[in-house]
Symmetry: C2
Subunit: 389 residues, 2 copies
C-alpha cells in the first residue's frame, strides 16, 4: 500500500465511480485523514489536467509496534501513512523477563522511543505487540510462549492501563497471514499459507483473503502439529511436534546427534543457525541429515494440511527460508506420498527472502486497520484495502 494516487487511479482501483471517489475524498479531507500532495510528481504524462495526488495524512495518527522474538525485541514507530518513523532494537535473553516485568520493559522502550520523536506523543493512538505462543481466549495475555517468563501476566492490559492507550496482542502466525496479503497484490484475495521457519515454526493462513483462526485473534499452531507420536521433545513440552524437528534448535540438536528427548535450547544465536546451513550446503553429512529431518517434518505437516486446506500459494519465510532448497526434496517426497499430492501434484512452495518484512508489514497493516475501524469509527472499510494494487 503506497497511497500516493490520483483520484482517477483510486477510482479504477476500487471499482467505484469518479463521482463517489470525489465525495469520499472530500469527506476524508475535511476529517483530516488524507491530504493532497502539492508537489507535482515527475510522471510521464504531460497532456491533460494534471492529477492531484492524495495520500493518507501522515500526522493523523501514530502507532507503536513491538515485535517480540526469542532473541530480540524491536519497537517501531509508524505514522498513519504507514511510514516507519523510528525504530529501537533490544537483544533478549532467556532471562530478560525474569529480571523485569514485561509491562515495565515495554513501557521503558516506549518512553525511549517517544523521547526521540516527541511530536508523535500527541497523536499516538495504539500500541500493538507481536508475540509467539498461545494467546488467552480473550487475546489479552499469553497462556504459553517460547519466550521465557513472558506468559502469565496480562501485560497487554497492564500496559494499556498504564499508558491510557489501546494495546493489542497479536500472534505472530496471524500477522504472517496478514503480512503475506500485502507482499504481493496477487496474494491479497488468494488462499495463502505462510510458514515461518526459524526460532519457531509458525503458520498464518488466509482463505480467500480472510484470515483464518478462531475469533479475531485466532491463528494456527502448525509448528505444534503432531509429526510423530511420542517423538522429539518440543519447547512446548509436548513430544513429536513439527517444530521439534524443524525449528532452529531442533536442527541444531539433530546436527550434533543430541538425543531428541534432550531439553531444547532456550535460544539459538542467529550465527549458529546460519553456520549450520553453510555446513549443509557444503555437504556436511550430519548437518544435511538434520535439515532432511526438518524437511520431512514440514513436508508431512504440509501434506496433512493439504488434506484439509488447499491454498493456492505456500510461502516460506524466516531465517529457515534460506534452507528451503536443503529441505525441498524431503518436502516434495512427503507430499507425493499423499493422495492429494499425488493427484494435484506438489503445490508451489516459494521462499520469501526478507524474513522480518511479512511480520512487520502484517503488524503495521493490522494496526492501521484497527485505527481506521475502531478509532476513526465509521469509515467504509473498502477504502484502505483499495490502495493495495
Amino acid at each position: 500500500m503506497q497511497g500516493a494516487q490520483s483520484r482517477t487511479a483510486l477510482a479504477s482501483l476500487t471499482g467505484l465511480s469518479h463521482a463517489s471517489m470525489t465525495a469520499i475524498m472530500s469527506d476524508l479531507l475535511t476529517q483530516g485523514l488524507v491530504a493532497e500532495l502539492t508537489a507535482d510528481r515527475p510522471d510521464g504524462r504531460t497532456r491533460g489536467r494534471p492529477a492531484t495526488f492524495v495520500n493518507f495524512a501522515r500526522n493523523a495518527a501514530h502507532a507503536a509496534l513491538f515485535e517480540l522474538d526469542v532473541n530480540r525485541a524491536r519497537l517501531s514507530l509508524i505514522d498513519y501513512g504507514g511510514v516507519l518513523v523510528d525504530r529501537i532494537e533490544t537483544d533478549l535473553t532467556p532471562t530478560t523477563f525474569a529480571g523485569i516485568a514485561p509491562c515495565q520493559f515495554l513501557s521503558d522502550r516506549l518512553d525511549a522511543l517517544l523521547a526521540r520523536t516527541p511530536a508523535a506523543q500527541k497523536t499516538l493512538r495504539r500500541v500493538a505487540i507481536s508475540v509467539q505462543g498461545i494467546l488467552e481466549r480473550d487475546g489479552r495475555g499469553l497462556r504459553w510462549s517460547p519466550i521465557q517468563h513472558l506468559a502469565g501476566a496480562p501485560f497487554a492490559t497492564e500496559l494499556s492501563v498504564a499508558r491510557g492507550l489501546p494495546v493489542t496482542l497479536h500472534k505472530r502466525g496471524r500477522l504472517l497471514a496478514e503480512g503475506a496479503r500485502w507482499l504481493d497484490p496477487a496474494l491479497h484475495e488468494a488462499s495463502v499459507a505462510t510458514v515461518f521457519v526459524g526460532s519457531t515454526v509458525a503458520m498464518g493462513v488466509t482463505f480467500r483473503g480472510q484470515i483464518m483462526g478462531r475469533g479475531d485473534e485466532g491463528a494456527t499452531e502448525f509448528g505444534h502439529m503432531n509429526h510423530v507420536p511420542n517423538g522429539a521433545l518440543c519447547r512446548c513440552g509436548m513430544r513429536g511436534c513439527i517444530e521439534a524437528y524443524a525449528a532452529d534448535y531442533a536442527v541444531l540438536r539433530n546436527a550434533y546427534s543430541v538425543p531428541e528427548t534432550a531439553p531444547p535450547a532456550p535460544a539459538v544465536p542467529v550465527q549458529q543457525y546460519e553456520m549450520l546451513m553453510q555446513r549443509a550446503e557444503s555437504g556436511d553429512r550430519s548437518a544435511t541429515h538434520a535439515f532432511n529431518l526438518a524437511g520431512r517434518a514440514i513436508g508431512f505437516g504440509l501434506s496433512r494440511m493439504l488434506a484439509i486446506y488447499d491454498p493456492s500459494h505456500i510461502l516460506i519465510v524466516g531465517p529457515g527460508a534460506r534452507a528451503l532448497e536443503l529441505m525441498r526434496p524431503e518436502i516434495d517426497q512427503a507430499i507425493k506420498a499423499s493422495l492429494v499430492g499425488s493427484i494435484n501434484g506438489a503445490p508451489h512452495i516459494i521462499a520469501h527472502r526478507d524474513e522480518t518484512e511479512p511480520i512487520f508489514k502484517g503488524l503495521l497493516m493490522k494496526t492501521l486497520n484497527d485505527i481506521d475501524q475502531v478509532d476513526f469509527a465509521p469509515l467504509p472499510s473498502t477504502e484502505r484495502a483499495g490502495t493495495a494494487g
Copy 2:
C-alpha cells in the same frame, strides 16, 4: 428451513424492516417464486390482524438429486419449497458401472422418477449429483472415486447434454459442510467440521459460515490425510491414510486380523459393519481393538486438523457415528497429546444420529441455492438464507 412465515416474522429474522419485506415479497409474488398460504394456521395468537403466511411456491421449480454411495444410489425429486416429492433407491455393487455407463444409469433412473411425477417434467430445473472421490478441477468429472468404474467419463457433462439441463457434481465432503449448516441454526454462521465415518472417511468444513476448499467445488480430503507413513493400504492406493484405519473396510480388516497391506474390500455390507459394532459393544476383544485403531486414526487426524483450524463444533455423522463412544477414548487421548488439545482442552465432538440427513440436506440446500442464484438470477442472496431460524 421451513419457510411458512409471516412477513413480520421474516422481517425480524432477516433484520430488515417491515417496509422492505413488503417490497421484496411483492416482487417475489409477481415473479411467482413465493405464494401466500390461505389456510389459516392454528397458532396461539388470536388478537390483532391475522398474519398471512408466505412460503416458497413449491411448483416454481423442481430438482433431481442423486446421492451415489459405494453400495447405494438414491434419487430424490424435490420442489422449490424444499419438500421431498418422490424417491427411488437402487443398490449398487462394485460391478454396476462396469455394466452400464454412469450417464446412462443416471438417465434411466431419472426417466423412472419423472414417469411417476410427470408434472415435474416441465419445471425440472437442475440435476445435482453427490459423489465420493476427487473431482476434476473444473468440477465436471471425477479423477478418482471409491465407487468402482465411476471415475473417468465426464458423466455430468454427458448427462447435461443428453437432458438439456444443468447438471452439477458435488463432493460428498462438501455437502456435509453445507448440510451441517442447516441442521441447527446455531451452526449456520459457526465454524464446523463435519466428519463422515462409514464406507469412507470424509470431512466438510465451514469457516464462519463459508464452506472451505479450493474453488466453488473444493472440499477436504480428511480421510486421506496421512496417519502413519507407509501404513495400512487404503482404497485410494496410498498407504497410511486415516481412512485405511477408520472406514468400515478398515475396521473389518483389523477386526479379522487381515494384514493391513491386504487390498481393501471394495464394499462392506451395512449389516456386517453393524454387527462389528455390536460385537465391540459387548466386549469382543478383536472388534474393540479394531475400533480403537479407528479412533486413534481419527483422533490424530483431528489433533492435526486442530493445529491449523479450530472449529467451534465437530460433528460425526454416517454409519460410524454410532461407534463414536467406542472410539472416543482413543480420540481424546490423541488430542490431549497435542499442544492445542492440552491447552484448549478436547473440543466437543458430538455424533449426529441420522447419517443421511446432512448429505441430503446439503445437496438440497445447495441446489435450491443454485436455482436462486443462477436460474432466477438477480435476487438478493439474503432472502433464502434468512428463513433459517
